[in-house]
Every structure is written in structure tokens, then in C-alpha cells.
Symmetry: C2
Subunit: 257 residues, 2 copies
């Protein structure tokens, strides 16, 4: 014990890549008395290191939303070698959240503020009857869609726009300009997959973008209505908010560290 006390621990900054199934979480962000991904991770760090740390994510994900590649940073004083954290944390965490990698990064690197690009994936089942097995993992949209119309809607949405018409109310936001770098769309055996990459996203933005493309593809709203949503910032011109279960934070990209 005495020799341990003599070790002067330097502050380290750990970058975690995390996968989770959001079905049994009340979202990413810590809340009293509710199970959250951030809360579970901070508790695991506490059990492991006896330190109260803050696990700062690249952004919040809502209740029911999943992640293959959420990124978080943690400032910590600990002698545990970086390569040991992954297994040690996974042993403490429930199986619906897994630490995929842990690396040490510069102290000024921050999961949220250093992020340059994010990619979200949305999976939609277009069959008449949804899959029971995947009910928490896939959105359901039981309508015929015209792929040409989806592609046209997609082209209108890519680029730098005021996305006020494509978000749910969030009092903290004043600037609604975001840039969408690309939207990939694929359709195979009645399962549609959207991948949206941008420099940042407003509250519910991906779910509304996907709902807008689908409603456009089905002919429930016109391409002209989508144009109006972009021009006026009015929510009523955009499409449906798709359910949380089909949404995945796929990856967060940073400049080379």
C-alpha cells in the first residue's frame, strides 16, 4: 500500500468506442433513477477505479436508439494500463453495452467538441407485417415506395441547409444550419437502409430526414413540400418522425489525433 501512495498518477484522457442496444436504456444521458448508457459506464469506471469520472459522449442518443460506434472521452487518474480497460469494463457492464476499444489520446481531445463528422444508419422494414424478432431494431413503414422519388428527395437534402423544419423543439439550439455530406440509400428484400453523414444533427433530425424521404417516396408529401421545409424552416412541410428503434449511431470521425 505504501509504495502505491508514492506513485504520482498523471491525468490521462481515454477515448472509448462503444456499442449498445438502446432498447432497455432511457437514452445516453445520465438521469436519476433511470438506466442510461452514460450512467452504466460511469458506474463501471467507479467500480473499477473508485473514481467518480465523467464519461463524455460525442452526443446524446435518445431512448431506444442504438450505437455501433458511439465515442466518449474520460479524464482519469489511474495506473491501469490502457489495454486492460476494455476487458475490465466489459466484465462490469451488462451485455447490451460493450466497449469495443479504448485508446489514450491527447488531453485536449474531446469526444464531442473534436468531432468532425457523424454517420447515422436507419433501417426500415417495408413489408406489410413487421418482423417481431427485430421489432426493437428496425423501423416499420408498410408502404410501397418509389426509389426514384427517394433519390430525388435525398439529393435535395444533401448539402448545407437550415434544418429548422427537420427537428423537434429543443430550446438550447439557436443555429439550425448543418451540412449533410452524403446520404446512402439501399433497398434489398424490402429492407431499406439509409446512412446519413453530416457535421452535426439537430434533435430527431435523422429520424425526420428518413421519414421525409420515405413520405416523399410513397407520395404522401411532394418534393415541393420538402423544398418548402428547407426554405421556410416549418416542420409541417417535412415528413414523419420515424421511431427510435431503427436508428444507429454508426461512427464519429475526427481529424487525425
Amino acid at each position: 500500500m505504501k509504495s502505491e501512495n508514492k506513485t504520482i498518477l498523471k491525468e490521462r484522457n481515454l477515448k472509448l468506442t462503444i456499442e449498445y442496444n438502446g432498447a432497455k436504456f432511457f437514452g445516453w444521458q445520465k438521469q436519476n433513477e433511470k438506466r442510461t448508457v452514460q450512467g452504466d459506464l460511469e458506474e463501471a469506471f467507479f467500480q473499477l477505479t473508485k473514481q467518480v469520472v465523467e464519461v463524455e459522449g460525442s452526443g446524446r442518443t435518445d431512448r431506444g436508439v442504438h450505437a455501433m460506434g458511439q465515442v466518449a472521452t474520460v479524464k482519469i487518474l489511474s495506473a491501469i494500463p490502457t489495454e486492460n480497460f476494455k476487458v475490465a469494463l466489459n466484465n462490469l457492464l451488462a451485455e447490451d453495452v460493450r466497449v469495443k476499444s479504448v485508446e489514450e489520446v491527447d488531453l485536449d481531445f474531446h469526444a464531442r467538441f473534436s468531432a468532425k463528422k457523424k454517420t447515422y444508419k436507419y433501417v426500415v422494414d417495408l413489408n406489410e407485417t413487421a418482423s417481431a424478432i427485430n421489432c426493437d431494431l428496425v423501423g416499420h413503414y408498410p408502404y410501397k415506395i418509389d426509389v426514384k422519388k427517394i433519390r430525388k428527395a435525398k439529393q435535395m437534402l444533401v448539402g448545407k441547409h437550415n434544418f429548422k423544419g427537420f427537428c423537434s423543439a429543443d430550446t438550447n439550439v439557436k443555429n439550425f444550419e448543418r451540412e449533410i455530406y452524403k446520404i446512402d440509400f439501399s433497398l434489398k428484400k424490402n429492407i431499406a437502409i439509409f446512412e446519413v453523414t453530416g457535421n452535426g444533427f439537430l434533435y430527431n433530425m435523422v429520424r425526420i430526414l428518413v421519414g421525409t424521404m420515405l413520405d416523399g417516396g410513397r407520395g404522401k408529401i411532394t418534393l415541393d413540400s420538402i423544398k418548402k421545409a428547407l426554405e421556410t424552416g416549418e416542420r409541417k412541410y417535412a415528413g414523419t418522425t420515424m421511431p427510435a428503434g431503427g436508428l444507429y449511431l454508426k461512427c464519429v470521425e475526427y481529424n487525425k489525433q
Copy 2:
């Protein structure tokens, strides 16, 4: 109302094909105060027809086990056209259980007693770190396996055998002879899929068969030990019982009705 009372309803026998995600159910079989698939289906029938019916499955599935093709029969007095049941029941059921088809069959057809073959599917993730997203849908076996050994173990298990060594205790069973018609095995990107078709299965039998093939493939048990399990009926010679989440009742086959 009066004219309805005059209609003499004949007893009909409905055959349902059902998909469910077992994660939030305490198995198939009705239990007091616990959510079960049979219980949910009977409640939906009651809401729809105001009749207390018995939904008889082809067999029980345990807590956490899924089905793509569970079959059940229901004897019912109702004027509702057969083709309307599917949508009407799905509107009343939660989204983790879906009726895929409803057809009228002969009165002497029974989901359990008329069944000739059943096929179960088991999905296993062989990666070191399991997927959080699929944690309720896939078993985890983080070991290197030798596919040749798996195939040898598989060949030993196919056929008519006394499977007493491959089941968990179940006081109702006296005859342990079952026939396995085939076992398909595939491995792609570290995800192994087993499909086992047989004339019937003992309690936990598929999960133990898969665990035995995996333990054989990993070298944890020898092929000789598997042979001993078949010969002696002693559970200790067979392999691990794999977890429920990777198991799916894929289909139940009947003679032409």
C-alpha cells in the same frame, strides 16, 4: 342482435403461424401474472371474439427463445372470416409477437400432435467481444473452433438415438429416443449458424446439442465423450447448454392436410 343470435356458428379450427421475439416473454406457456406468448395470444382472441379459447402450440419454447414459425391451433366459434384474423390479431398484439398467417384446417388437425418435423436454428457469435446490439438474439462462444471437428460431431448426432444425455431434467418424459434428420452448419464472418431438424426434441436438447458440437469443435470435449453421452445417456459427457437468446423455432412441418 336478434338476427345474430339466430346464426348457428360451427366450430372451426384455425392454424396460426407465429413469429416472436422471446426476450420479453417468460416463454410460450401460460403462467399466472407473467407475460407469455400463449397468454398474449389468448388475450387477443378474447378481446376480438369475447370467447375464452385455448391456443395450443406445437410445443413450448423457453424464456428468451424466439420463433419465426411457431404453429398453434385454436378451436373457435366465430363468424369472423379467416382472412380477417391476421390483421385483427396483430392490431391487438404487441409488436414483439406477430401472426404471420391464419388458415382454417380440419377439426382433427392439432398443432402439437399432428407435427411431423421441427427445425430449430441456433445463431452463435464466435468473436471475442459479443455484439451488444444483438445480445438477446445471438449466443456468444468466444473460442476458436475447428470446423472439421464440428462436422464430425454433427455426423455422430444425426440419426435415431437415445438423447437422455442431451437434455435437462424433465419429469414428464420417459422415452428419450428421438430422430434427428439433419443438422446444417454454416460459418460466415465468425457467426456460426446451426439448423437442426428432427421428429421432436427433449427439454433444452437443441441448446445442449449446439453446445456439444461447439465444445467438440473447440476441443473442450472429445468426440469420444460425445459418443459416450449417446451410449450411456449421461449428461456429463455432453457439452454446454447454450443460452436461450440464440435459439429460434424456425418451422414445424405437417403431413399435407
